[in-house]
């Protein structure tokens, strides 16, 4: 992939200039610093305290005027006490950073832990309780063997009805995508096939091929991200041929466990101007939830995005197990607050929670980048791909709305408590146009992006956060 040319202005010029929409919920909140450690299979040389310290120090290097005494308090996130083998680990982070006796609280919300931490820090500033808040998170998943780690993750499913069947999250996501493929490929482009089993086989093969394109994209984007755990060039055939984990999901379509930490610093407007020449404004926050058990998800009506109508979904039982109602709910709330009515045109990129290639496609639809049922065509058209990159297959609409330009969870890794914050940091650097500085490589810098979204997702879609970030300077 050649270095990309300097920022072109063409796309931005098509749209009305971005307004600095005042948040409807409290004070304006800006992000002024971010830092991440390299995500890795294991960091036995660093415990969680040191890992967060490294991310925190990296964030502070961005803002020389921001000294420790200016931080009013913290929100600290990690998902699992089991992985940490240390309860109240967030207190030890606060302690190690030397931030006692300032206020702090631990944030945990499954896979969305990092996204919730970002929003908790946002709320601390928006409410006026703090002027400057540090949000920091980590996970140390290498401390147990991989399949024990899967058990810890699956304990975040109903232990009466779900866990004893295999204790396996990939199995749950496989159930969801098999139904998603049934709803939209079997009943869509394979509707003409008479033999039911043959139609379903064809639909799954088609869905698997398209999911593999997402995996290729994210691994390939990550080649230019020095923080990523698994950057690599793959083909669709490689992804399909990788080990079957839970049919139809293969190893390369699934994120792995990681050690890593990330930190963000949010503050009010007056301090943002003092600390940073390129502050980034948080213009929208949204959250949503759904039932813990997949089995309980209702079959109701689709909550509509501004540009959808009920006639788009006359026969779609929603969400069932095929889509994430929590994601749609989070998107609707965040878009409303940010004044977004057409996310596909009004967002310049999204860093979203691709724990599985399947959930990336499902999330395009939840977030209204396309309608429900259009996720597979959206990939085939190339909308979520980077422009000017050779992925090994045609991507005619590449650059329309790059999704996971950083490489996402699939290629960067997923140290749960850090992941949603990592997305915040990557989005922040994108909007500042400082990807070249931080990645040492200009390839992933989008052409003058004005507005992006980050999306964090917990177990089977039981909770989702969406936050909208915009350039906060002229």
């Amino acid at each position: 992939m050649p270095p990309r040319s300097p920022p072109a202005r063409s796309r931005a010029a098509k749209r009305p200039p971005t307004r600095l929409t005042p948040p409807s919920k409290g004070r304006r909140v800006y992000m002024v610093a971010g830092g991440v450690t390299k995500f890795a299979k294991a960091h036995p040389e660093m415990d969680f305290r040191l890992m967060v310290k490294r991310a925190y120090d990296a964030a502070l290097r961005d803002v020389p005027n921001l000294t420790k005494d200016r931080i009013d308090g913290t929100r600290i996130s990690y998902f699992s006490d089991h992985f940490s083998r240390q309860l109240k680990a967030a207190s030890m982070v606060q302690d190690y950073l030397g931030l006692n006796p300032k206020g702090s609280v631990r944030i945990e919300w499954g896979g969305a832990t990092g996204g919730e931490c970002f929003q908790a820090a946002y709320e601390a500033v928006a409410s006026g309780r703090m002027d400057v808040c540090l949000g920091a998170g980590y996970e140390t998943m290498s401390r147990v063997a991989t399949w024990k780690g899967n058990e810890f993750i699956a304990l975040a499913s109903d232990t009466n009805f779900d866990f004893p069947l295999g204790g396996f999250y990939t199995g749950y996501y496989a159930l969801m995508v098999v139904r998603h493929i049934y709803e939209y490929l079997r009943l869509g482009r394979f509707a003409h096939v008479k033999d039911e089993r043959e139609a379903q086989r064809l639909a799954i093969a088609e869905g698997s091929r398209i999911m593999s394109m997402v995996s290729v994209k994210n691994h390939l984007n990550a080649l230019h991200n020095p923080y990523a755990q698994y950057p690599k060039r793959l083909t669709v055939a490689d992804v399909l041929a990788s080990e079957m984990i839970s049919y139809p999901l293969t190893r390369e379509q699934i994120c792995t466990m990681s050690d890593g930490a990330a930190a963000v610093i949010l503050c009010d407007e007056a301090r943002a101007k003092e600390f940073s020449d390129r502050p980034i404004l948080v213009t929208g926050v949204g959250t949503g939830t759904d039932t813990m058990r997949l089995a309980d998800r209702p079959f109701g009506k689709v909550p509509l995005m501004p540009r959808e109508t009920s006639s788009d979904y006359t026969d779609l039982p929603y969400p069932g197990i095929h889509s994430f109602r929590a994601g749609r709910s989070a998107g609707l709330e965040a878009y409303k607050m940010a004044g977004i009515t057409d996310p596909n045109r009004e967002l310049d990129f999204i860093e979203l929670h691709d724990a599985y290639a399947s959930s990336e496609i499902q999330t395009y639809e939840d977030l209204g980048l396309c309608k429900y049922g259009e996720g597979y065509s959206f990939v085939e058209r190339g909308d979520p791909f980077l422009k000017g990159v050779d992925y090994g297959f045609p991507t005619p609409k590449a650059g329309a709305i790059p999704v996971n330009p950083s490489g996402g969870l699939i290629a960067c890794g997923h140290p749960v408590g850090a992941t949603g914050l990592m997305q915040g940091v990557f989005a922040y650097w994108q909007l500042q146009e400082r990807i070249p500085k931080h990645f040492g490589d200009a390839a992933l810098q989008l052409p003058s992006p004005k507005r992006g979204a980050i999306h964090s997702h917990a177990g089977t879609g039981s909770a989702v956060t969406v936050s909208i970030l915009e350039r906060g300077y002229r």
Binding site: K41, A42, P44, E45, R85, S142, A145, W147, K148, N150, E151, A154, T159, N160, F161, D162, P164, L165, G166, G167, F168, T170, G171, A174, L175, M176, V178, R179, Y182, R186, E196, R197, Q200, E243, M244, I245, S246, Y247, P248, T291, R293, L294, A295, D296, R297, P298, F299, G320, I321
Partner: protein, 175 residues
Amino acid sequence: MSAQVPVKTHFREVQEELDRSGRAIFRDKDGNESLVIRFPYSIQYIHSYAEDSPFFLGLADGKLKGSRCTKKGCRFAYATPRGHCMVCGSATEWVDLPLSGKVHSWTTCHFGSEAFLKETPYNLAMVEFEGFGSLLLVRLKDAIEPELYVGMPVEARFNPDPKYLVTDVWFVPKR
């Protein structure tokens, strides 16, 4: 560092050494040395099924129990029982589920948590039942991947030697 603790430069070797001797020193590229030990941890919980108990007792009697909202005008029927209705908040009552249904979705798991690895590959299925508004997650046996499909009729089987786990019931293709 101490000569009695083997020094390893790859994390994989550290794990292997822990299996052998319970201790290892990890030396990273920069020469930093970290002492790594094994730390066992196990728990026996006193786990009450509480309001879900009749479901698990039912399995031991060869019965599949769902629940239904008691409120007139709601009467939502749950294939996975809930003590209270998620639609209207009213208490539910226990009802028998049909012993056969249809596959709503399925997968074959080639891995699982540590405790389930020895059972791989195994099938999971979401089963839908006539007259019930929610689903039930089960193991699907006596069928392999190429035979499974959405809409497949399936029926329940019960463990004659109940373990009082949700796995006391499983489904098989309907004869």
